[in-house]
Amino acid sequence: MNLTTYDECEKYLDFQPEKPWPNNWPPFSWENKLVSGFTHSYKNQYVLNFSSTDVNFLHLFHTCHPQLNFSELGRIILGWSNREKNICSWQEFFSLYGFHQNTESLVQQLKIFTSTPVSFQAWVNKKAIHLSELRILNSLEDMKQIHFIFEWIAEQSPSHSQGIKILELGVELFLMSLDPDKILKSYFSPEKVIQEMEKKRNPLSSSQDQVNKNNLKKVIWPSQVSTQWQRRGDTTGLEIKIWCRNQKEWEEKIHRVNQLSVFNRLDRTDPI
């Protein structure tokens, strides 16, 4: 281990880390390649330089940067792959960060992720979205095709699950030429966007559900009986809530609900 200067170090390993290097620590380098403290404030400063006999590159790098988000990992892939010879094996690198299988697929995923807008990436990192949840992006030839979806998500900042749902539905509608842009221009609420997108994505079941809901509205229910046509997974059905104060009221209301023969009024025939 020796001291070198910032200017003497190669800086190609710079991946624009989002966590700043502590001010009271000198930057580290490995074989005169800067590993931490990439910002210009370290100009003219001394750098602690490790050699390959002191420490393995990967261990030093991981010690300096024990946690990296997907944007950072993506920048590493893009920045380090351009060199003639890779400084380390990707498989070993990723296993230090908890990714143990299918390096080739992971590298591909990261490259795709890095081509999305920075604002979208920030949302992904903030909501701790896993790369596997963004697999829908693999179906696109060019991320620019759906810039409007990324922009909407970055601006409205939906929750983790809502954002993933909107992204997947939006991309599928785009690929089916069903114009998700109109929906995103019309609504700001994630719930409403998801609802409208699902209607467009599943027109057959949505229209069937709507027919049943409309038929249900025509039924005159006993007082203090509320109903809702619901979808639960692959089945649809009726949820009935009954308010009653005693056994007599309960029996009366159940009898009156039974008399309505609700399921005979609902459209359960083939709509096709």
Partner: protein, 417 residues
């Protein structure tokens, strides 16, 4: 659309050193050019790949591996899940993966080893079966070889059809089912058998085969192969699975069923299973990447069912099942394209009467042995008004005694290990 010749299907053939003397390896040397064949020390030299990308999965179909298998060949059908009504099917896995390319194939979410694999040590598989035979001698087992691979598409390399034909002669109370989307029956169809080999085909309308079952035999090729098997005394079976919803589904499935019923009598068809498209949620990504959103499969409307799989709406499934069941009944017995009751007075087969030769549709509709695959109780009742245990001819397929016996045997084996 016929199968691609093997020689053009596979770019690389890997043979494990210890499998070099096996019959499949010898066959591979005859079929494939030498420069396509690579000898490897051990299967463990090759990497597994979890969550394969589309490119990786595409490439996996071009790599063939011949190696030995150290695990258990014989298992219960992996489709069985709590909440579903499942039959007593067992599987004998003599390989893994498939060189054909159906857009909906569940291997896309199951396989983590990027090779179409043939297990070369069939003698170990048969030894394992003999062990099962001695422990479960009173049980009539139904065993299939087409669960995680096609039973016959690679038979020109393995010749396992003939080995199995001979082996199952020793166990006439068992049935072996080949399940295939090929028409590759030439290696066994003219051989002697003792009537316990069922040759089955997964069927879909030709429109679906062209759009979604790439590299498979056409509907006519499959049915012609089935006819030849029937003529040679093999019981045949059909799997209308997966039923795929599309705009013209009624017309297409009706035409296909008309073809089946015109070519076969109910007593010639051991059973017909029916299942709607279903798949693990994570599979939707690789299907979309590989086949785009124009595929009937990827653009379908799916919802998460109780068993965790994505399926069509339950109501839609009931409608499709009812319609398809009804198409097996001739028009004059049908009412509004719905099946009223499967337990209508039924024509007896010549097997049971022996003496009388019955015309197919004497006084009552012909009885096909139809059942649902991997469906819940509600859909069984909506489609057939009964559960399978109450349906004549089907109830033996759903007798779970062999399954329980095997489960007990497996538990005892684990305890002793």
């Amino acid at each position: 659309m016929t199968n691609q010749p093997l020689i053009t299907q596979f770019q690389n053939i890997y043979i494990e050193e210890k499998s070099l003397d096996s019959e499949p390896a010898q066959k591979a040397f005859q079929i494939f050019p030498k420069n396509h064949i690579h000898i490897i020390k051990d299967k463990s030299d090759l990497k597994t790949l979890s969550n394969m990308s589309a490119d990786q999965f595409n490439q996996s179909k071009k790599n063939l591996l011949l190696c030995s298998f150290k695990g258990k060949f014989f298992k219960r059908c992996p489709g069985a899940r709590p909440g579903l009504i499942c039959c007593n099917y067992f599987v004998l896995n003599l390989g893994q993966h498939c060189e054909m390319d159906c857009s909906y194939c569940y291997l896309q979410s199951l396989i983590n080893f990027p090779f179409v694999t043939i297990y070369t040590n069939i003698e170990d598989a048969l030894k394992e079966l003999s062990g099962i035979a001695s422990e479960m001698k009173d049980h009539k087992l139904r065993i299939g070889t087409g669960e995680i691979t096609d039973s016959l598409s690679l038979d020109d390399i393995t010749l396992y059809s003939t080995h199995l034909l001979n082996y199952f002669k020793q166990h006439p109370h068992w049935t072996l089912e080949f399940k295939t989307k090929s028409a590759n029956i030439k290696n066994f169809v003219h051989k002697e058998h003792c009537g316990n080999i069922i040759v089955s085909w997964s069927l879909n309308p030709q429109y679906i085969i062209e759009k979604e079952e790439h590299g498979t035999a056409s509907l006519n090729e499959r049915l012609n192969a089935a006819r030849l098997c029937r003529d040679k005394g093999f019981p045949v079976a059909f799997h209308l699975d997966p039923v795929i919803y599309h705009k013209e589904w009624k017309e297409n499935y009706s035409n296909m069923i008309q073809k089946i019923t015109s070519l076969f009598k109910p007593e010639e068809v051991s059973h017909i299973s029916l299942g709607a498209l279903r798949f693990q949620p994570e599979q939707r990504h690789i299907m979309r990447e590989r086949f785009g959103m124009k595929s009937l499969v990827t653009k379908g409307e799916y919802f998460k069912s109780k068993d965790g799989k994505l399926r069509y709406d339950s109501q839609l499934r009931q409608q499709m099942f009812q319609f398809i069941f009804s198409q097996f009944i001739p028009n004059r017995y049908r009412k509004n394209d719905t099946l009223q009751n499967l337990s209508l007075p039924l024509a007896e087969s010549t097997e049971t009467t022996g003496k009388r030769k019955l015309s197919r549709y004497k006084n009552s509709p012909p009885k096909w042995n139809l059942f649902l695959c991997m469906e819940n109780k509600e859909n069984w009742l909506a489609t057939t008004n009964q559960l399978p245990s109450k349906i004549e001819k089907t109830n033996n397929l759903f007798d779970l005694k062999p399954v329980r016996a095997f489960s007990q045997l497996s538990n005892e084996t684990m305890k002793n290990a």
